[in-house]
């Protein structure tokens, strides 16, 4: 019964989304009132919310006749994880995706005058088309509401990895919001191509939305890294896994987009290259979704696979072809730009964008390579961290080098490189001190040096502009990136780990930390059986550490729950790999990971900086220029 209601709501949402698209195109083409279109947008949102509500009701009410509940619900799952299991598998997360997408559309189409650029109706129609596609995908290919017969008495519950930590309630929605936010620059980019012009207000809107989506995506990726570290329990936070790469790709192109938009935000014109970047972030989100959710590539994080691959692939290919066609149609001979000096703001920011695209190309190639080999040679191939560390990391270091120049950039003249003396001294000093005291390897050492160099330059800039700090979200964002670089370098260079089979009373040592096995407790809960290992820490750390190994019979899956004791200098990270049934011995991995917290701190700073930049009121000088005066054709650089 409840399943049918869900299907009806989804179908109604599909129809409402079609109506929204058509009504907004009517506004765009015929210039009529936007009121009915706005009503349709709200209706779409209501239907998406209702679909989520119905599925939540079915999950909470343990209605196992609904397929999604039969596959992901369970009577012994705590209420919190029952609620979050809406996004524990693909079909349910599509509903969350729809809800955020429809919410995004409502926010874009709002009535406040500051939001209504001349391009808005076109952009709304584009966003509407994307909504139609996702409703159709959910309704036809991944409907979570189909009935199950015979009705099972109980379900297996969500994937055990997704009910280990309360952050499950925050991390996926945050990441989805970041992904879906990219639909706004996409919509405005396509709108600019369709309409053949841009204006200052639309470009400002695009920039603000991109900043918001970018901040959410940054937070989502950071949280994903933390999740990987604290919950998945393999000891690291980034493995260049396809799912991780898929989240990084739109982040890289959105970063490039933000910089190209910032470089020329005063003209209100969009270069085709900027439009291409705006479109590519959302397209990469779609490609990433296809890659990781269709089962095309193997990943640790791919919790589900489903038959919607072909439909997604078709949509991705059609969108790419459409955008390329529009770009070719609208591209004209690039208009002249007064050639700016090599180290002026525009050239450096363009350089940054080129590097970001290079990083995206590397990550995309590495992610797609196994598919290519499979298609051409029929062999399995894998691209591990080795490739990315060899190719992407050096490029990222060059990005840091360029970032250090950012505080000195001027729009009209070359940066005064003499001001780099202090940052350069700090960087070289850091390299000298760290490199003479230890041997971290060339890449981490360079990262330490560049981190010190960037941070010193930012500090100088913050002191110089202390009166207008409110307008300097970018300082914070850049500082965050530098802090992440230092954290990554430190944790990859200085991590020590030991893996050993211990009998009760024996000791394992990693670095200056020792752990003695006190005992192994075996307990059987309602849905799981766990072996909790009690370790007594000594040496450089003290206290107890209690990692566990949890076995879930319903899913036939074993999860290792790490125990992390954090100190300012780093984490003592213990995991159980195996425990003998009689509780007399266990295989334990003990690791000391220095300065990992810098990675989380840096991610948070970056997201905070972008949020500050997005929320900043437009400067008075620019607000005075009426939007309509500033229209410029696409392709005018």
């Amino acid at each position: 019964m409840i399943g049918q209601a869900g299907s009806v709501v989804l179908g109604a949402g599909l129809v409402a989304a079609v109506a929204t698209t058509l009504l907004w195109s009517r506004v765009a083409l015929l210039g009529v009132s936007a009121r009915p279109a706005r009503a349709a947008t709200w209706t779409t949102l209501a239907m998406a919310a209702a679909a989520c509500g119905v599925l939540e009701a079915a999950l909470i009410g343990h209605d196992f006749s609904v397929r999604y509940v039969a596959e992901n619900g369970g009577r012994d799952v705590p209420l919190y994880y029952t609620v979050t299991s809406l996004w524990a598998a693909l079909d349910g997360s599509l509903l969350l995706w729809l809800l955020i997408l429809a919410g995004c559309a409502v926010a874009m189409g709002g009535r406040r005058p500051g939001r209504a650029g001349p391009l808005r109706p076109y952009a709304m129609a584009v966003a509407g088309a994307a909504t139609v596609f996702f409703f159709a995908l959910t309704y036809f290919a991944a409907n979570p509401f189909t009935a199950v017969s015979p009705v099972p008495a109980d379900g297996p519950g969500p994937n055990p990895l997704l009910r280990e930590h309360p952050a499950m309630g925050v991390h996926p929605p945050l990441l989805y919001a970041g992904y879906i936010g990219m639909v706004v620059p996409f919509a405005y980019g396509v709108a600019a191509l369709l309409a053949g012009r841009t204006d200052r207000l639309s470009v400002a809107l695009m920039r603000r939305w991109t900043l918001i989506a970018w901040a959410l995506l940054t937070a989502g990726i950071t949280m994903g890294a933390w999740w990987s570290y604290a919950v998945l329990g393999w000891g690291g936070y980034w493995a260049w896994d396809p799912v991780e790469n898929a989240s990084l790709l739109p982040w890289l192109t959105a970063t490039a987009l933000l910089h190209t938009l910032a470089a020329r935000r005063r003209t209100g014109a969009l270069h085709p290259w900027t439009v291409a970047l705006a479109c590519s972030s959302f397209l990469l989100v779609l490609i990433g979704t296809f890659l990781t959710r269709s089962g095309a590539v193997a990943s640790v994080h791919a919790f589900t696979t489903s038959p919607l691959g072909p439909m997604l692939l078709g949509f991705v290919l059609a969108s790419v072809a459409g955008v390329l066609g529009l770009l070719v149609w609208r591209s004209r001979e690039p208009d002249s730009v007064p050639a700016s000096p090599l180290l002026a703001r525009e050239s450096v920011m363009t350089g940054n964008a080129v590097l970001m695209v290079a990083l995206a190309a590397i990550v995309l190639t590495g992610t797609l390579f196994p598919l290519l080999v499979q298609a051409v040679q029929g062999d399995a191939a894998s691209v591990g961290p080795g490739y990315f560390n060899r190719s992407a990391v050096p490029v990222a270091l060059v990005v840091l080098l360029l970032m250090g120049v950012a505080p000195l950039l001027r729009a009209d003249r070359a940066a005064d490189l003499r001001r780099l003396a202090m940052p350069a001294a700090a960087g070289l000093g850091a390299a000298a001190v760290v490199g003479l005291l230890s041997r971290p390897g060339v890449l981490p050492l360079t990262a330490f040096a560049l981190g010190a160099y960037v941070l010193t330059g930012l500090l100088q800039a913050a002191v110089r502009q202390r009166r207008s700090l409110r307008r300097s979200g970018w300082l914070l964002a850049h500082a965050g990136i530098a802090v992440v670089a230092v954290g990554v370098a430190a944790s990859s260079a200085y991590t020590v780990s030991t893996e050993q089979q211990l009998k009760v009373g024996e000791t394992v040592t990693a670095g200056d930390v020792t752990a003695r096995l006190v005992r192994v407790d075996r307990t059987a809960g309602r849905g799981d059986m766990s072996s909790r290992v009690h370790l007594e820490l000594g040496g450089g750390a003290d206290g107890r550490s209690e990692p566990a190994l949890r076995y879930y019979p319903a899913r036939d899956l074993t999860v290792s729950v790490p125990a992390i004791r954090s100190h300012i200098s780093g984490d003592v990270y213990a995991t159980v790999l195996a425990a003998t049934p009689d509780g007399t011995a266990a295989t334990v991995r003990l690791a000391v990971n220095p300065l990992v917290w810098l990675v989380w701190l840096g991610g948070a700073l970056t997201a905070l900086g972008a949020t500050a930049a997005a929320l900043r009121p437009p400067s008075r000088r620019r607000a005075r220029i009426p939007a309509a005066d500033a229209e410029a054709p696409v392709g005018a650089a």
Binding site: P118, S391, T558
Partner: protein, 296 residues
């Protein structure tokens, strides 16, 4: 050159020298540890996890092998060779950069060349037209009256979508939720096939490996049964007793315990088997047990 600038330059040169020394110190080859070798190998039974990361018994066994081979004095290259010979070249996490692998460098390189070329071409151009601010803006679309034909088409599209949505079959799916693939499944089937071949001792070792990660009754009983058939009755009895301790109603555990006690000549065997008969008189093994008890 002022004194200040001279001092700054001097300081930078000194620091550059120190940093150069530091980099040179760091640049030497780093010894390869067992962990770094494990990171370069992919666990064959997992989904995209390296041997260093994975918690599967297979990966644990491979880590042991790496430790043993390094301890026996083999070089890291020999260890990698060993695994490639055993599991094929795709056990290596890093692909070969020959043949198709060249694309891993060519494709990003070409993309960057293309993008940088476009950016540079734009920069080089001399101003020869009106500046963007003066470019004629296209007139916004004139307000036209909504055309009826347009509305009719729109309504038809909506009706079509609604019709397709209603007509699309939403049959009850009778597919049971598929059991999720497990890393231990392949080991279990390995143990099963060893048992089928009568190699009970080896099967027991594999089961023992699986049990360290999934201590459920079913696997432990399989372990006990394999031990029993491998004529290691004392160990079988211990394992069966552990299962009985956790789930006292398990008749299978009673049966295996009884048979193990009987095989090791323990006087408790008769009592245990009688308990089994009382608890499960209709068990397929009951007749055989009665025959055993009746025999002198």
């Amino acid at each position: 050159m002022t004194l200040r600038r001279f001092l700054t330059l001097g300081l930078l040169v000194v620091l550059l020298g120190a940093a150069g020394t530091a980099v040179w110190r760091s640049a030497g080859p780093r010894p390869e540890s067992a962990h770094s070798i494990a990171e370069q190998l992919l666990c064959p039974t997992c989904q995209g996890e390296s041997v260093a990361q994975s918690q599967s018994p297979m990966a644990a066994a491979m880590r042991d092998t790496i430790d043993q081979q390094l301890a026996a004095g083999r070089t890291p290259e020999q260890v990698r060779r060993f695994f490639v010979d055993r599991y094929g070249p795709d056990v290596l996490a890093e692909p070969s950069y020959r043949g198709l692998g060249l694309l891993l460098w060519l494709l990003p390189g070409l993309t960057v060349a293309l993008v940088a070329g476009l950016a540079l071409r734009r920069r080089r151009r001399k101003p020869d037209g009106p500046s963007p601010a003066e470019a004629p803006a296209e007139a916004p679309p004139a307000r036209r009256r909504p055309s009826r034909a347009w509305d009719a088409v729109a309504v038809a599209v909506i009706a079509l979508v609604a019709a397709v949505a209603v007509a699309s079959p939403h049959r009850a799916s009778d597919t049971r939720p598929a059991p999720t693939a497990d890393r231990n499944t392949s080991l279990q089937s390995l143990a099963q096939s060893l048992e089928d071949q009568g190699r009970y001792a080896e099967a027991a070792e594999v089961y023992r490996d699986v049990v360290t990660q999934r201590p459920d009754d079913r696997t432990r009983l399989k372990l006990a049964f394999a031990l029993l058939r491998a004529e290691r009755a004392t160990e079988a009895a211990i394992t069966a007793e552990q299962v009985l301790h956790d789930s006292p109603t398990s008749t299978d555990a009673l049966l295996i315990l009884g048979l193990a006690q009987r095989a090791s000549g323990s006087p408790a065997a008769t009592a245990t088997l009688r308990r089994f008969l009382k608890a499960a008189p209709a068990d397929p093994a009951a007749a055989e047990v009665r025959r055993l008890l009746a025999a002198p």
